[in-house]
């Protein structure tokens, strides 16, 4: 097991006893339960570090929470929290527990362990209030469900380092699952529209003063992402990739966000803001770049210009046929 930090030696005395894990199943779809159960096998196969499930909160070294926490379940969790040892570590597992994702908009999900109060990026939806402050996890493992390897590694980290991993060591194993190539993005917002988990947000990065260059911020919240690949399928330019490699373990939920910035330019004609055309993508699709001025017009002005340029509908059609014949498609 490759775990960052100073604690990967299997002869560590802390390995001598199995780590006691209390699992709090708050509901959800059962997918996380499925993967947490696999920890049993990981523990059996492991040479050094082992864990065991306990049913008494008093004897637990770690509390593992997953699932969509409904208010009723939250009452039970609160009662349990009083019984834990104060030094007990807290691990939040799964998109439901960290960000609410799909189910949060039902309203009755008391929701996740990290609140809007902490300036959470997943709370793109500002109307969504989070009542839970008590359960503040030491570590987050995202995914829907997270892979057992990730959960195992998260456990291991908390067990060995009590969560006090140096920032560098923690970052050493963190890689993003979502790859975003901002140079290809059109800023069309299709991905934001389709995402069932509201894990994508396109926003104007700052207030624009006259004469200032603006930008659009594209944010992907991997904590809320279900890895359903709808966005990847729909994205017209293929600038999104869900590679499925890398770990999704973070110490703060904010670190799950992948960001990209699209620069805005002024339209040559109307001076309105528009996303700069991704030249690489256009070159790829058309084979060559059209006239530079063409790229500097906003979509509306481009339509007007092309209508003027082609004069009549018949001429336009002819032009189209010509193009099709040239490219043989």
């Amino acid at each position: 097991m490759n775990v960052a930090g100073e604690c990967s030696s299997p002869n560590d005395p802390r390995y001598s006893q199995p780590y006691s894990v209390f699992v709090f199943n708050a509901g959800g779809c059962g997918g996380c339960e499925f993967e947490v159960l696999s920890l049993f096998l990981h523990s059996q196969q492991s040479e050094g570090f082992r864990c065991k499930f306990v049913s008494q909160p008093e004897s637990a070294d770690l509390i593992l929470l997953f699932g969509s926490l409904k208010r009723e379940a939250y009452q039970v969790l609160k009662a349990f929290l009083l019984r834990f040892n104060p030094t007990c570590q807290r691990l939040a597992v799964g998109a439901c527990a960290i960000a609410g994702t799909l189910f949060k908009s039902a309203g009755w999900i008391a929701a996740p362990c990290a609140g809007t109060a902490q300036g959470l990026p997943h709370a793109f939806d500002s109307s969504w209030q989070n009542p839970i402050q008590e359960f503040s996890p030491n570590l987050y493992v995202a995914g829907c469900p997270p892979t057992p390897e990730d959960i195992w590694q998260g456990l291991h980290r908390l067990a060995c380092c009590s969560g006090r991993l140096s920032a560098e060591a923690a970052r050493g194993v963190e890689t993003n699952r979502i790859e975003f190539h901002s140079e290809l993005c059109l800023g069309c917002g299709l991905c934001q529209q389709i995402c069932p988990a509201q894990a994508i947000r396109l926003s104007i990065a700052q207030e624009l003063a006259v004469g200032e260059a603006g930008s659009i911020l594209v944010e992907f919240n991997q904590a809320a992402c279900l890895f359903c690949s709808l966005c990847e399928q729909l994205c017209p330019t293929g600038c999104l990739k869900l590679r499925g490699s890398g770990t999704l373990i973070r110490q703060r939920p904010q670190e799950f966000v992948v960001r990209g910035c699209l620069s805005l330019v002024r339209c040559l004609n109307c001076q309105g803001w528009m996303v700069a055309m991704p030249k690489d993508f256009i070159k790829q699709t058309l084979g060559s770049l059209p006239d530079q001025r063409w790229l500097e017009l906003c979509p509306t002005c481009r339509k007007i210009a092309s209508a003027r340029y082609l004069k009549t509908a018949a001429e336009g059609l002819q032009h189209l046929h010509q193009l099709i014949q040239e490219r043989g498609c």
Binding site: A26, G28, G67, C228
Partner: protein
């Protein structure tokens, strides 16, 4: 002391329990009344489904249950496909069936693991069963790229493909890894005298309580939607049997599950050796039509039934989902009647209730 005492099974059962509360009254040391209280894990899936579009619904409905995700999307897709009157390509039907059958294996192994844990089986037995489940998950991962919540279905076909012959070969060789765990389960777990005659459910009781899935089949009802009414997906073209038993006890329910796993393995072999060529999805994409439709599939735990109305804007206007655990709840209560309190967990586990699909 009063003759009746009330005992709850905590919503948070020891170790990894499900948030499902079962309360029972005891009279003269026997269970006299059972109540199942719901609401701990309810997420409001039906409510959410109306807010989302069809594509997002595929992702949402799949997350009703992480143990049998494909049965939900399959049911949803088939319902909409029947409304749009499209016929999916044969290859897509085969791939759907393939995933559904691997899922069935994986789902049926879960109650066996619960049984092994409850009977304090040797850790080697438990480990074998866990490894079998891992093998099923690994097969799903090979095929779909995910172990759980694999997004396989889309309306009009599937989103995954089995392109490489090596993958099929690997999967075929992995099928062999289920033999030993199943032998072990039969040889050691199901030998326990305790399981015989426990939690009896007569076939009349199964019939009247609308029991479904392995619970109904263990009570002698040969009910299986994969055969009934001509079947669906690729089932009409596959050779398989519906195992039934007339004993109706805990043991019979586990035996039925093991036999079903064996049947599923047979089906997977057939599919992998004769996967038809062709498209993965209807082309062009199907034109959805508004209207009302219903559909059901045989999920690992039993019948999964969807009834929905699609509005003119192709939003879901109304949706009613009935899941196997919901059907089996009455049967579970009947089984528990007159049981001794120490047997209650065993009987409950044999019915394999799933909190996720019960409390959507």
């Amino acid at each position: 002391m009063s003759p009746t005492s009330r005992l709850p099974l905590d919503p948070y059962l020891p170790a990894i329990g499900s948030p499902l509360t079962i309360e029972y009254d005891l009279q003269h040391g026997r269970v006299s009344q059972v109540r199942v209280s719901l609401g701990y894990a309810q997420r409001g899936i039906e409510h959410l489904a109306k807010k989302q579009n069809i594509w997002q619904n595929l992702i949402l409905l799949q997350r009703i249950c992480g143990i049998c995700p494909i049965s939900h999307t399959l049911c949803f897709c088939q319902t909409l496909e029947s409304l749009a009157k499209v016929q999916i390509p044969r290859r897509a039907a085969y791939l759907r069936t393939l995933v559904a059958e691997i899922e069935r294996i994986q789902s049926h192994l879960l109650p066996l693991i619960c049984l092994a844990a409850h009977l304090n089986a040797s850790s080697s037995c438990l480990r074998l069963l866990f490894e079998a489940r891992e093998a099923a998950a690994a097969m799903l991962c090979l095929l779909t790229g995910k172990r759980v919540n694999y997004d396989v279905n889309q309306i009009g076909g599937v989103r995954v493909d089995l392109k490489k012959a090596e993958v099929a070969q690997t999967m075929l060789s992995m099928l062999g890894s289920f033999d030993r765990p199943l032998d072990e389960a039969r040889g050691s777990l199901l030998r326990h005298e305790r399981l015989k005659g426990l939690g009896f459910l007569s076939s009349q009781a199964a019939e009247s309580s609308l029991a479904t899935g392995p619970v109904a089949r263990a009570s002698g009802l040969a009910r299986d939607l994969r055969k009934e009414g001509g079947g669906y997906a690729a089932y009409p073209e596959l050779k398989f049997q519906i195992p039934t038993s007339s004993r109706g006890d805990v043991l019979a329910r586990y035996e039925i599950r093991i036999l079903e796993i064996i049947e599923s393995i047979r089906m997977i072999r057939q599919i992998l050796s004769s996967l038809p060529q062709g498209k993965l999805s209807v082309d062009p994409p199907p034109l959805l039509l508004p209207g009302q439709a219903a559909g059901s599939v045989e999920a690992p735990r039993g019948e999964n039934h969807y009834q929905l109305t699609l509005s003119a804007h192709l939003q879901i206007e109304q949706i009613k989902i009935t899941t196997p655990t919901e059907y089996n709840l009455e049967a579970l209560k009947m089984m528990l009647m007159d049981a001794q309190p120490e047997d209650v967990p065993l009987i409950v586990a044999s019915a394999d209730p799933c909190y996720a699909c019960l409390e959507r």
